[in-house]
Amino acid sequence: MPWNKLMERLQTSTSNSPSSDGDLLLDVTLAQALQLGNSRAAEVFENKYLPLVRATAFRMGGERAVDLVQNFAAELVLPRQTKPPRIAAYQGRTILANWLRVVVIHFCTSHFRHKEAEPMTAEQADEHELPSGQRADFAPCQELVRPLIQESAGQLAAEDRVLIKWLLLDEVPQHQVAASLGIHTGNITRRRQRITSQIWRGVLQAAGKRGQERNAHDCLELILTDGDHSLKQDLGTVLAQVICPESANQGVP
């Protein structure tokens, strides 16, 4: 059956709106036809899905992101250097709208990360504002604590690691975290507290194994200290000499 006829028949029995359960067949057909370069399929995509693409992009990065996805149909079907076109990755396991949302978000975040400077996190911004001498004060402590944190966090269950990173680093709302991990929202706060204590316990235990429990404790206090730069500098110098004499001699003015 010619493509146009097929689409007409399918579309007369479905609304001109984003997909629901029953539209999977139409979605898969549309994706296949788009990949084959059918112009009618491109037209259907523009009418039916481009508003969703633009709205998702807008939420990700405002008008700048909307500009990025103006020709998203082409972005989906054009071959990419050594890779097949994006649309080839859609296999019809979920509705096209769900897949498109992830693709658009991925496309926008990748673009902003590669083409422009990634927005600084609050921590990076804080650090950015510190004079270089004060940043150097932290270096020995960071060197000490980083592997301890990695070791401690690495001992957590995978679900706990994802949960704490989503909540602390990515600021995903608690109810979304709960829904995606299949746990009750009411458990999230308790679980968050439990994971936090578990990480600290792990850090101090790991430091203890290396005979550096006291230094690790002081480092944590130092990193946490905000505002009092002279205290930071003093502590930093002392700790740098105790923890990493070589880096203290080389790195701290």
């Binding site: 029995s13 479905t14 609304s15 001109n16 709106s17 984003p18 629901s20 359960d21 029953g22 539209d23 999977l24 139409l26 898969v28 057909t29 296949q32 508003p51 709205a55 998702t56 939420r59 990700m60 890779k83 080839a88 990755a89 859609y90 296999q91 019809g92 396991r93 979920t94 709208a97 769900n98 949302r101 992830v102 978000i105 991925h106 975040t109 921590e123 980083r146 944190i149 990695q150 995978a158 679900e159 690691r161 994802v162 990173k165 989503w166 602390l168 680093l169 600021e171 995903v172 709302p173 109810h175 979304q176 995606s180 991990l181 299949g182 936090t196 600290w200 944590l220 990193i223 946490l224």
Partner: protein
Amino acid sequence: MHGSLSDERLLKRLLHEAEASAAPPLDHADEETIALFAAGELSTAQRDAVVAHLADCQECRLLTAHVLQDQAAGLGYPRQTEAVVEGQGAKHAEMPAEVGVRPASRSPALSSVRWRTILTTAAGLLAIVTLSSLYWANSGPREAIAYREARNKLEQGEFADARALIAAAEKDGVHSDRLNSLDAQALRGIPAAISLERAGRLSDFSYELGGVVARDPDSLPYRGGMAAAEARLADVPGIELELLLNRGHLRLTQGNTDAAIKDFAAAEKAAPESPLVHLGKGLAAFMHEDFADAEQDFRRARELDPSNISAAINLAMTLEERGQDQAAMLLWRELLQRELPSSERERIHAHVRELEEAKP
């Protein structure tokens, strides 16, 4: 050692640094798997495999976090009820066979998977499409997106753009009561959320200090587009607070106090503690010449929001209507102690002088 807040602040900082120095994994979850995960459409085993990957893959975790945040914005799509994912996708070192990887080059096998999907879903489609078309006719993401975008424009004061967005949505067959309400607000050039704040004084409805109707009604604010706005809102059943306040204010502006009273009464049921509801209700009662009710509502509005100047001015005027000149005078004097637009201050000053001169 630390309080819980500083614990988390410190942990956040350290996790961030630890993550920055960790080596990224070679493979990533494919976008369709992340979509299925975010939509809650994976089996427990599949979900656990994705979680295990997310625990150590910053890129996939961040992408999933963005998708979840996007969903949290209230624009999630409906779930797929029939799982068609078993046995698909290329294999990942740490994932079961059904969870795919990104990037995945397309093989002939994948084409056959896609067409197998077509065949397996074809039977279900015929039964579902009728119901789904009914469901999507007046709701769903397109309505939500149109509403959100139009509302943003309205709040930025871009009324023509808001109307254009609503018109485009309606042309595509997207209709809803709240889109009607937004369009009515855009027609009048004032968002409902601030209509009573900006134009909630009796003087905005042609009642002047110390007297009754004094001005040419056409010179009053927010009278543009009233007929079209009324037409937009006439048949809307009205269950949302914003819509009720919007329509109540419009009807007050039109002098249709009976209808306004009904809207504000319904609004009070929805939000009995809203000062704006009581302000609107008091205005409607005053214009209906139920001054005792008006006094009660303006007092309640002031209790709920002591900074509300409109409620104070309206109450003073109501007290005068009720012959409580002394109480009114106290309130006028109190008002003169507060920050007021200079023209309003002068009017109140003049009025207070008149009242003092009229004293026996």
